[in-house]
Symmetry: C2
Subunit: 699 residues, 2 copies
């Protein structure tokens, strides 16, 4: 793909002219790419040239009498209606200039998805999005625009939640009709049902129902809308995820797409905000393709891009032909305006994030072959970092570089997301830190080109220890139960380091410290509160350790600057370098304190994805066991340790900084909720006889 | 009320004998109170005496032919099924020994409410609760028991969520029938709809439907169940919160109580788990009374007691006569087994938490008169602390005592919740700390009888500063935008203190450090990350500052040891004592950095409870303004500051430790969700003309 943003006016002009002469479908998409660069303010060209390009695109498109649609895959900011509306209007004007039939935005585009409880506490933002919607309508011409917004329900209604999640169809200065979401995802990261009422009706209702619809006022009208002689059946996100033939089990009894299909639309359109997660791409692709094919109706799907807090949306908007064949797919993790004509099967299939194509058949079992998911992981996280910083107004990150895998991978991701000049790596050696770790950290920083400083923590640790002697003696004079062996020393080191990082964040503008904990260690509570697990953002909190190893190798191979990560970092056994192993006299290895990461990560994967329990795990062979002998005692010890440590890690999960959800299941608190006080769950269960015995003994 | 737990066998025997001779209703309740002490293991008496008391209660009750019901208001542990089941069976056996018709437990008692997503990730606990339920059924006799549990839906179902929130009616060794929850609260702290399917039918279904019910298999049978010639209409919590005559607006279209009423039951029974929140008591009382009265059917309501994480349940189970009059109410915030007979209007009304009676007419406006809510606040929080520690296995708390209001109130609450010997207050003065603050802290500790130590932070601050000079210079050599004035110095102090507290927690068993931030300051982000806002628990995170002042006075007046809080602490203007005000040369006062607390707390109250926006606030007079002149410029400055600071405090809310929800609305992340990246919301909104202008300018 050509990067048009590096070219100048003359070069662009030349290219555009040649493309116009060609006048093919390919030219159409190349010209569109130039305009994308312009619309995203990456390329600055004269108004004349812009007009010329637009007129050329228009001319190619004019061959199709009808069905030209623009997929506006854009990145909103939650609640910043002005920002979102300005973007929307820019694209509407562009679509109009191309004389498209329709421009489609992602779900809830005026508000950004998710907006969560904000609409309940601050209803003014809902009033505002209605005001903006009406004004946007005034500006529309013949090109219809599908614009998502939060719709307050009738003010004098006496039943149900206060809002609908809606889409307005704007055209010729007016609101032509409104579609409301029927199925409300309320699981994992989705909380639609908290403040949204399910629509009592599928498909389009007249504009007269704006802010006035209830069950009784549903108008008996055509559920589709016809724009330039094409009938569209419009739905919102989850509405198309309930196909009873595709899914073994569906969440809702109603299938809005089935209802829409009865009206025989020429094209299905679905406005979505669907975050990137492992395994989701294949599901989405197959589901959309299946739906198009089973009704023999083309499907146009527009997805949000960008990240909102913990959710990173991948875009990859697309269109399928009536036989379920993919005819267009927008880029992943980038804003794009993609033109399609589902009737003429015109569209361009941009490459899917590398590796994902290969996963279109589901991986049913845990494997350490992460290859297929690494570019998606990379783009999900870097987008997550970038947007979290951008949208909260931060620009720079500071992190501790230990020479270990976690901080290393974080540093690479941060450099790529924020720019290397915006990242500061601080090596903060203690007396336990090996010379290798120190120099690995420095080499890494040099390779990445990020800023680097080394500051020892010895004085901090010494002073803290000196103070602790008096303090602990005073406490001990009143309290028993002082530990013979405690984690105090380990934690002093981690907390001293966090003190430095937060200090820099306090002293320098727009700078956030980074929490470097990974998923495997968070599961085990192997992270220090106010230490390595504290920060403004936690980039790899949903990436298990074994994947991080594969990821590091992938980064070395696939980034522009090859091999930025010193091989020594990847080869070294992970360890926090916070304590010395009395057995070896060397820094304690994490796997000795926990268990082999390969084994641990398989437990996590099975518990999260297959909901297996203790005995399932005990009675089946792990990958690790195929290569290594594990005695029953050893396996019991590891499994017991897993459940014990996980139970007491729940508190740490609850105070974990914002982090990108990456895997199909996570411990992110906005994705998975478990009471902290449920730490006494017996994950092994009891037999019927044991239960009987206990009950009989109870007086 | 007599504290039977301090009496010996002979004294109890004497009292019991006299009560038996009296044989009145009052004797019934006094005898029950003795048995409560026994059942709660607070009183140890011989089996003979127990048998005698039980036989006496039974004899008094035998005058009623039917309708004797036991309300088992107990405190479960989330997910600890064995613990919960043992408690359940103990009370079932007791109820059977009294020959009661029925014993009623709170909602979901085998699992504890809420159990949240745990049932999805770890389905073994659902299997387990079914096993336990079946075994408990075997032990039941003629006394019917209503036992709440999570019911997996038919394994081969292909639509809907996986579980019901159910109640089994157990009697004579069998499951007699099952009731499932129809209305699923999904707002604030409630997330029922995440993994629970609404019941397709109201009232009782036969036992044959256990784990087998779907919409098609609903049995057309009587929705009530008859036990000893009394017809009961049973519902679960939210099911009775949808009365369309009582509420101006209801959340659901279906009203299960109305459906049940059509079957003309003799008694309504509702099993609940309803947490304590400001203003909720009057709503609950009036709603239940209204419902009983409008159907002319008595209502028996059993509520959970104890705290699960952030939710503190107040118990106060009760019964209403057919005319809506209160005939019984259990104690608040204590386990109790209360016997009622709604047909004979027999029951005892235990006093409501002090002050709440007075609030039975709604306070519609913000007021600084917190008096009516202070005992409830006290009991909600102390129960919250106690159960969080108990249920996670912690016993001791350590906190910094600054001599300020926040840490003072926390210390009192901790001493009362955990026992003074289990609390360690550490005074950690800096050079800014006044001598008054130091001595106030010490006097407070002495008055409370908690452990106390003083450790200066000077060395920590000095060492940190020494290290920071080098570190910041190194960073400055690469990065611009070093603040001229930063909070670095303030935060070093707060973080050094947290370092001490976490150190103690690491070094001594079962000890948690406490986060002392209050609600007003958390709204303003006026709290230090890894400093005063870090801890294992945050007792007063949902109490605004003005309420804390009233609370401190209330504590001085109402605790057994009067005036534990030195008057100076209450009189002093709050300030973090982290920085010197250059204007005065004295420690900076919080109200100067923020705004008057009275003004701030009214904004918070109005935004949370009345959903007011910027202009509502601007255009109406605050209480504070009635007493103090506030210029328009000043008010603008304060309101702007409020929204600006709140927008950037969202991140801090997300990493706040577990805390008790106290007020009717909160910022607790399990109660209120707003994307952190929504910090650019324009809370003022724009006029139509401004919007038009912006849209026209957008190219």
């Amino acid at each position: 793909m050509i990067d048009y943003s590096v070219l100048n006016e003359y070069e662009i002009s030349d290219i555009a002219e040649n493309l116009a002469i060609e006048g093919t479908e390919n030219s159409l998409f190349s010209l569109s790419e130039i305009m994308d660069s312009v619309l995203q303010n990456k390329l600055n060209i004269s108004q004349d040239l812009k007009d010329k390009i637009i007129s050329n695109i228009k001319s190619i498109l004019s061959k199709n009498e009808k069905g030209n649609i623009g997929l506006a895959q854009i990145n909103p900011i939650a609640g910043d209606i002005e920002y979102n509306a300005k973007k929307v209007i820019k694209y509407i004007k562009y679509a109009q200039s191309l004389n498209l039939d329709m421009i489609v935005f992602p779900e809830l585009i005026l508000m950004g998805y998710p907006i969560e409880d904000t609409i309940d506490r601050h209803p003014i933002i809902v009033e505002e999005n209605i005001k903006w919607l009406k004004e946007i309508a005034h500006i529309t011409g013949s090109t219809a625009a599908l614009v998502g917004f939060i719709e307050p329900r009738k003010y004098n209604l006496n039943t149900g939640k206060n809002y609908y999640n809606s889409i307005a169809i704007l055209q010729n200065g007016e609101i032509k009709g409104i579609v409301r979401k029927s199925l409300l995802p309320t699981y994992s990261e989705f909380n639609d049902y908290r403040y949204i009422e399910p629509s009592p009706v599928v498909g389009v209702q007249p504009d007269s129902t704006l802010c006035l619809l209830d069950e009784d006022s549903v108008v008996d009208c055509d559920k589709t809308i016809t724009i330039n002689n094409v009938k569209y059946g419009i739905s919102i996100c989850e509405d198309c995820w309930n196909n009873k033939d595709f899914f073994d089990r569906t969440l809702y009894s109603k299938d809005p797409i089935e209802e829409l299909a009865q009206e025989k639309p020429d094209v299905f359109v679905n406005c979505s905000a669907s975050p990137s997660r492992a395994k989701k791409e294949q599901l989405k692709h197959n589901m959309l393709s299946f739906t198009a094919n089973s009704y023999k109706i083309p499907m146009v799907y527009v997805n949000q891009v960008g990240a909102i807090d913990n959710s990173s949306f991948e875009g990859s908007s697309r269109a399928f032909s009536p036989d379920g064949a993919l005819i267009a797919r927008a880029k992943s993790f980038e804003e794009q305006f993609l033109i399609v004509n589902p009737l003429k099967k015109i569209g361009k299939i941009y490459p899917l994030t590398k590796g994902l194509e290969k996963t279109l058949t589901e991986q049913k079992v845990f494997t350490l072959e992460y290859e297929n998911d690494l570019e998606r992981t990379y783009r999900t996280i870097t987008q997550g970092i970038k947007d979290y910083f951008n949208k909260t107004g931060f620009e720079r990150a500071v992190l501790g570089l230990s020479g270990g895998l976690d901080s290393t991978v974080c540093a690479v991701l941060l450099a790529d997301a924020l720019g290397k000049e915006n990242v500061f790596g601080i090596s903060m050696p203690s007396k336990i830190t090996s010379n290798e770790s120190r120099s690995d950290a420095e080499i890494l920083a040099r390779n990445l080109g990020i800023n680097f400083a080394e500051v020892p923590i010895k004085d901090m640790v010494d002073t803290t220890n000196k103070m602790f002697v008096t303090l602990f003696n005073e406490v001990e004079s009143k309290w028993d139960c002082r530990y013979k062996q405690s984690f105090t020393q380990d934690n002093i080191q981690a907390r001293s380091r966090a003190m430095y990082l937060w200090g820099i964040s306090n002293e320098f503008a727009k700078c956030l410290p980074i929490a470097t904990s990974d998923k495997s260690e968070l599961y085990m509570g192997y992270a220090t509160i106010n230490g390595d697990m504290s920060g403004g953002f936690a980039p790899i909190a949903d990436v298990p350790k074994t994947k991080l190893f594969a990821f590091a190798r992938w980064l070395n191979k696939n980034r522009k600057e090859k091999n930025a990560i010193p091989e020594a970092i990847i080869l070294k056994k992970p360890g926090a370098e916070l304590a010395i192993d009395p057995k070896t006299g060397k820094p304690l290895i994490a796997e000795d304190a926990l268990m082999p990461y390969e084994f641990l990560d398989e437990i996590i994967w099975r518990v999260e994805n297959k909901h297996e329990h203790y005995w399932d795990l005990m009675n089946t062979t792990f990958q690790y066991e195929k290569k290594n002998f594990v005695s029953k005692e050893q396996k019991t010890e590891w499994l017991d340790k897993f459940y014990r440590r996980m139970s007491t890690a729940l508190y740490k999960w609850s105070i974990l900084p914002p982090s990108v959800i990456v895997e199909s299941r996570s411990i992110n608190k906005y994705d998975y909720k478990q009471p902290i006080t449920s730490s006494r769950i017996n994950y092994k269960g009891l037999s019927r006889d044991e239960i009987r015995g206990i009950l009989n003994e109870t007086v």
